[in-house]
């Protein structure tokens, strides 16, 4: 039980990543695949945040006296996550744009049927 509570965020993060990857690997529909990618992203973000998280820690700002650095959450992962979210959104937006265009060309979003570029 202790273990679970210790690692719950990691478990959650990696579950999200694997679920997302599974979707990417297994699903035929492009939109689903994009959602999968998005889930992977979320999982990674959760993972990064967890890295810097200290149970009961405070924001890393010396706002009042008595705050020690050990009790603060690591700010770096938060910065990373922010960047990663931005990148994720950019990819997501681009992917959706391309999905629309692809649908216009093929009339389908089934990736198993979109196989003109091969060999």
């Amino acid at each position: 039980m202790n273990f679970l509570s210790e690692y719950i965020y990691y478990i959650g993060a990696f579950s999200l990543i694997f679920i997302g990857l599974f979707i990417v690997l297994a699903k035929k529909n492009l939109i689903k695949v994009i959602i999968g990618l998005s889930i992977v992203d979320t999982g990674i973000n959760l993972f990064l945040i967890t890295l810097g998280y200290i149970r009961g820690g405070t924001a890393p700002v010396f706002s009042k006296p008595g705050l020690k650095a050990e009790n603060m959450v690591d700010p770096v992962p938060q910065a990373l996550v922010l960047t990663a979210i931005v990148i994720g959104v950019a990819v997501l937006a681009l992917a959706l744009t391309l999905a629309i265009k692809l649908y216009k060309h093929y009339g389908t979003l089934n990736l198993r049927k979109i196989k003109e570029q091969k060999w």
Partner: protein
Amino acid sequence: MNLSIILAIAFGGALLTYFSGKISKKARDVLAVLISLVIAVILAFFYNTSSREIFYTGFLDFPLILRIDTFSWFFAFTIAVIGSFSIIFSLSYIRKKGNTDYYYTMMLLVIASMIGIILSGDLVSFYIFWEIMSWSTFLLISYNRGPAIAAGIKYIIMSVTGSVAMLVGIISLYSHYGTVIYTELSGLLYNASSGYTIFIFVLFFIALGIKNAIWPLHVWLPPAHSEAPSPFSAVLSGTLIKIGTYGIILLIYVIVKINVFLNLGEGIVSARYIIAVTGAITILIPTFIALLQDDAKRLLAWSTIAQAGYIILGIAYGTSESVASGMFHFFNHAIFKALLFMVVGAVEYRTNGVRDLNSLGGLIKKMPVTFVGGLIGICGLIGVPLTNGFVSKWLIYKTLIINNSPFLAFAALLGTWGTILYSYKLLHNMFLGQLPEKYEKLERAPFSMQLPIVILSLAIILFGILPGLPLKVINSIESGFGLEPLTINIWGITSDTGTINMLNLFVAVFLIGIMIWLIFKGSKKSAGIGQYDNYAAGTTVPKNKYHYSVDFYGPLHRMISPYLRDFIDDFYMSLARSIKNLGNGIRRIYTGDVGYYAIYIMLFLALLIFIQIKWKLW
């Protein structure tokens, strides 16, 4: 005079020719001929000198070296002369075709790179020039389009195969001995294990053997020689394949050294014997295949392979007589094969590209000079006494018999008799027999074609009667290799086991010929009649109905043709096909389905983890 100047003239001249062609056609023609002649003349002045210079230091850590000695002079000079004759021959040959600037540039580039190969003093520059030669040749072989395209691709693939093998050899030598300069490498292999020596030998022989068209590496040659423009076929056959010969001599006698070579293996499994036997096979099989050819240039191409077999046999056999014969035959073959290709080229030029032996005939009346050239050429090819080919072949037979290798001698001799058959067929089907009506109005070959034909014909006779001239040079090369020199007179060779005296023979033949001619002239004069005024045992011979040259050796053909398909070629082709199929199969992993691609990524990840768990790599 600097050696690098020759190369500068050769390579610079090639480029200059291209640009001069944009300004004036005449200037380009003159320039092309001039450059090739200038190279030959400059090289002539290097006779009996030896020098060595570093000409370029910019290539990685390898100083590139040029050197000249009698050995390289002999090859370089022959190549330059044959090259300039071919260019003179091209003047009118190529005028009818397009892309003339390109043609001359490539031709000069090929000649320049060949001279570069010969003059280079280290293996890296050898290789660089070798590759330049390969691709420039490739660009010229396909010049005629049509079937020439397949010929070109075959040539370049084999050539690249060879040169990569050689590259491994060169670098391997460098990594073992830290040098690629001939003089420093020379003899170093004495201490190497025989396994390593054989490894080096095999690698180099793939490259050199492909260039020299040794069976079973010959398959590029017949199509390439027959589809290339004829003057270039002369260069290809006369000189380019001899670069392979040069390389083999260089490898055996300069780098590996004769004493190591002769001790490589024993008896029948010695390197010497194996290469010699390969040479003998190279004589026999292509000779018989040449018999079956109906295309003049293809016939000559197969004949080239066969003659290259004599050269290899001579060089690999390793006695001083055999090596002399190999080198002498190289020289002779350069002359007569260039001549024969020019003869065929002249006919091809006048008949607008016909070289099918079954549709020509009777051209002797129309192109007498060309015919005489052809006659002397085939005499040289067969080795009729008093032509140059005789002496070199005599030398090889003799040394093989005296040194107790009758089977090799038998192969060589039998090859000669095959040569008689196919070369007579060549001459007969082109120049003798019945003249087809469409060629009634044929003109003589233009002067620029006749000139090289005449000069080369005279050279054949000259070196046939006075073989001492080239043999003297060859002798001094041989002493440089540490072989015992021959006893040479201007008219032939003296030795305990057999002497040859061409001048005696010449006088005898000449006097007897005169005598018979006098009897012939002195007796009742014969009446001249037309070609079709024939005795036909009471029937009449219809004109233009039959072509007697078709299926000239029909009976023999029927007998031997089932055994003489070019199995080696089939083998290579099926190899190519299977690589193609393999490629097509492998391509299918890129299925087009992105799901698979994502799985590949995951599998790769899994593979890496698996490897780590299994073998603990890091």
